[in-house]
């Protein structure tokens, strides 16, 4: 078929491709309490992570001779602001280096809410398509009104029968239950003083989508890493780009698959992340690009997005969870 002579750019849809590594390996996620516990604690963390990072690399080498792995590290500046980039980042990099790890990309958690004035979290929220419980024939449940996302049907709120008697408790039901339900209901955001505060699992879901190369804004890539050529880090988090590239690695930030290393107290958060990813209708163009390129490299990705994320949950160093003041 011949190309049309007349074209209008505003009438066409284009999804720009992003470079993709094989694996995006998250070496850690730093919260204020981790920081307060001091550099030694961070050192412990990296020493533990190093072991698993080697295992993950070995696993990938079974599938490809020249694995492209990029490493990343996330710092929370969204829920609590602590320290400064100038003080914190060199310390993180030093402790990682001591354990023989290299951090290629570093991101701020608030970049998952808003990056370069683009409301990423808001956009992902618009893409939630709730898993329909049996019997759904076209009525659209208003996820955007409740701010909660579940994996099934909730317990009906206290209702009265026709005779006015209060009905007994009814159980919630997981839609994909096997024999018995594991029902989960995830808070996506809260409102305080007219400001929306995104929940940790929701921002972590955005973070996963970014690492999987599935986020776009009007067809353009978002949360694009900015080169940080050895300059000093600023004294204010807002002056640090949401995602920076710290090394000259050739492995791209986004990848076919992700692997995240974290203490086992994050299991519930990451389970919630999977629940969110499983009900997110991601950009179809981006989805197709990833599917085609991974297949061409003989490393086809699982069809469902949530299946592309893997985790290592390890035991925290003994003193950490009882850190003073938390």
């Amino acid at each position: 078929m011949t190309e049309a002579v007349f074209q209008e750019t505003t009438a066409e849809l284009r999804t720009q491709a992003v470079p993709l590594a094989h694996l995006s390996l998250e070496l850690g996620h730093l919260y204020m309490e981790d920081f307060e516990a001091g550099p030694k604690r961070l050192g412990e963390h990296f020493a533990e992570v190093r072991v698993w990072a080697d295992a993950v690399r070995a696993s990938l080498e079974r599938r490809t001779q020249r694995p492209r792995i990029s490493t990343c590290f996330l710092i929370d500046d969204y829920f609590t602001r602590f320290s400064t980039p100038a003080e914190l980042i060199p310390m993180v990099l030093k402790e990682a280096e001591k354990a023989g790890l290299v951090i290629d990309y570093l991101a701020r958690e608030s970049g998952c809410a808003v990056a370069d004035r683009i409301e990423l979290a808001e956009s992902v929220m618009h893409r939630l398509v709730e898993s329909p419980p049996p019997g759904s024939y076209g009525s659209r449940p208003p996820v955007s009104q409740t701010g909660w996302l579940a994996n099934g049907e909730r317990t009906p709120s206290a209702s009265r029968s026709a005779l006015g008697a209060v009905k007994g408790w009814e159980s919630p039901q997981e839609t994909a239950a096997r024999n018995h339900s594991i029902f989960m209901d995830v808070e996506l955001w809260s409102e305080k003083d007219g400001r929306r505060l995104w929940s940790c699992p929701f921002l972590a879901a955005v973070w996963q989508l970014a690492r999987l190369g599935l986020l776009r804004h009007l067809g353009e890539p978002v949360l694009v890493p900015r080169e940080w050529g050895g300059a000093d880090f600023p004294h204010d988090w807002d002056r640090l780009p949401p995602l920076i590239k710290l090394t000259d690695t050739r492995a791209a930030f986004s990848a076919y698959r992700t692997c995240s290393m974290m203490p086992n107290r994050f299991i519930a958060v990451e389970d919630a992340v999977r629940l969110i990813l499983d009900q997110t209708d991601v950009d179809a163009g981006a989805l197709q690009q990833v599917a085609e390129r991974s297949a061409a490299e003989r490393m086809p990705v699982p069809a469902a997005v949530a299946q592309r994320a893997t985790y290592v949950f390890y035991e925290e160093p003994a003193d950490s969870s009882e850190a003073e003041g938390t």
Partner: protein, 321 residues
């Protein structure tokens, strides 16, 4: 993990419903306002085309369903998947909402994890084998209680758009919305129009045949185009019938026909935004009943009537009207 579950399913049917109505705004929308109205998603653009006529198309949004399919023979086939919905605005005047989906010949007997449905937007899978003929008839008849309801999804989108802050909810003239239900069977080499039925209560039904390589979205676009022109014919005919042209006196004729001239006459533009592979399906309707012929006839009647009025009226009366 199972390979069979991961395979993209080839569809054998595509079904949709289009609702067409006048945009509830006194002024027609320009391209910018149209883009704002149809921005159903923050991160996906509204497609705007200004030639040969202004046409804006929203991104598609999905609705999850898990219910029975309408079937004429009473078979109760549970089906799970997503229905796509989109809205279009033509010349800033006519608003349309479509809900549509495709169906494969068969599906697994269990429900998959939801994420696997989401990576195949607009596909609804039957449990087991799809009773094709019964489903075609059932979809055209419309959903019964508890059955997959495309009309409800299209109407839900339309209702949300009608509440948009940009709209003043004042219409320049009265009109009735129409709905068009369509079903396309896959597999033929050539796309063809099998049937177009004008039923009562603003309902139209349509049957198509579609080659496999033509996406369901293209069929939805064709059906929107036909629904839009059918709405124009229906509405203008109705206005002419109601204006009692033969009996009314001077100014009221101008008054009655004024909105047609200002808002509708220029909207007639068959196939303007239809996939070129489907444009020829218009030919059948041009042949019989002759959509454009009827439109030309209606336009001529309006123009003649207004010309007569101009001749009959004194010059001052015209200049003050």
């Amino acid at each position: 993990m199972t390979a069979a579950l991961g395979q993209p399913a080839r569809s054998v049917l595509a079904c949709g419903e289009v609702r067409t109505c006048l945009l509830p705004s006194f002024q027609a929308f320009d391209a910018r306002a149209a883009a704002q109205l149809l921005r159903l998603r923050a991160d996906e653009p509204v497609r705007i085309s200004e030639r040969p006529s202004m046409y804006a198309l929203s991104p598609e949004i999905l609705t999850g369903v898990d219910c029975r399919l309408p079937a004429s023979n009473g078979s109760k086939v549970r089906s799970v998947g997503t229905v796509a919905a989109r809205a279009a605005l033509t010349e800033g005047r006519l608003l349309q909402a479509t809900a549509y989906f495709s169906l494969p010949a068969a599906g697994p007997d269990i429900r998959r994890p939801w994420g696997q449905y989401l990576v195949r937007p607009g596909l609804v899978e039957p449990f087991g084998k799809l009773p094709q003929q019964a489903t075609v008839e059932g979809m055209l008849r419309g959903a019964r209680r508890g059955e997959l309801d495309l009309g409800m999804i299209a109407e839900g989108l339309l209702a949300a758009l009608r509440r948009h802050a940009l709209l003043d909810r004042r219409v320049p003239f009265k009109s009735s919305p129409t709905r068009l239900r369509w079903v396309a069977r896959r597999g033929d080499q050539q796309a063809s129009l099998v049937n177009f039925t004008v039923a009562e209560g603003g309902l139209r039904t349509m049957e198509l045949r579609l080659p496999e390589h033509i996406p369901a979205a293209a069929a939805a676009g064709l059906c929107e185009d036909l629904a839009l022109h059918d709405w124009l014919l229906t509405t203008v005919q109705h206005m002419l019938d109601n204006s009692r042209l033969g009996t009314a006196d001077g100014p009221s004729v101008v008054e009655a026909l004024h909105p047609v001239v200002v808002h509708l006459l220029h909207l007639w533009m068959p196939r303007a935004h239809v996939d070129p592979a489907l444009g020829h399906l218009w030919d059948v309707l041009e042949e019989k009943p002759g959509f454009s012929r009827q439109w030309e006839n209606l336009s001529r009647r309006i123009r003649d009537r207004l010309a007569l009025q101009a001749v009959a009226m004194p010059h001052q009366a015209l200049s003050t009207s």
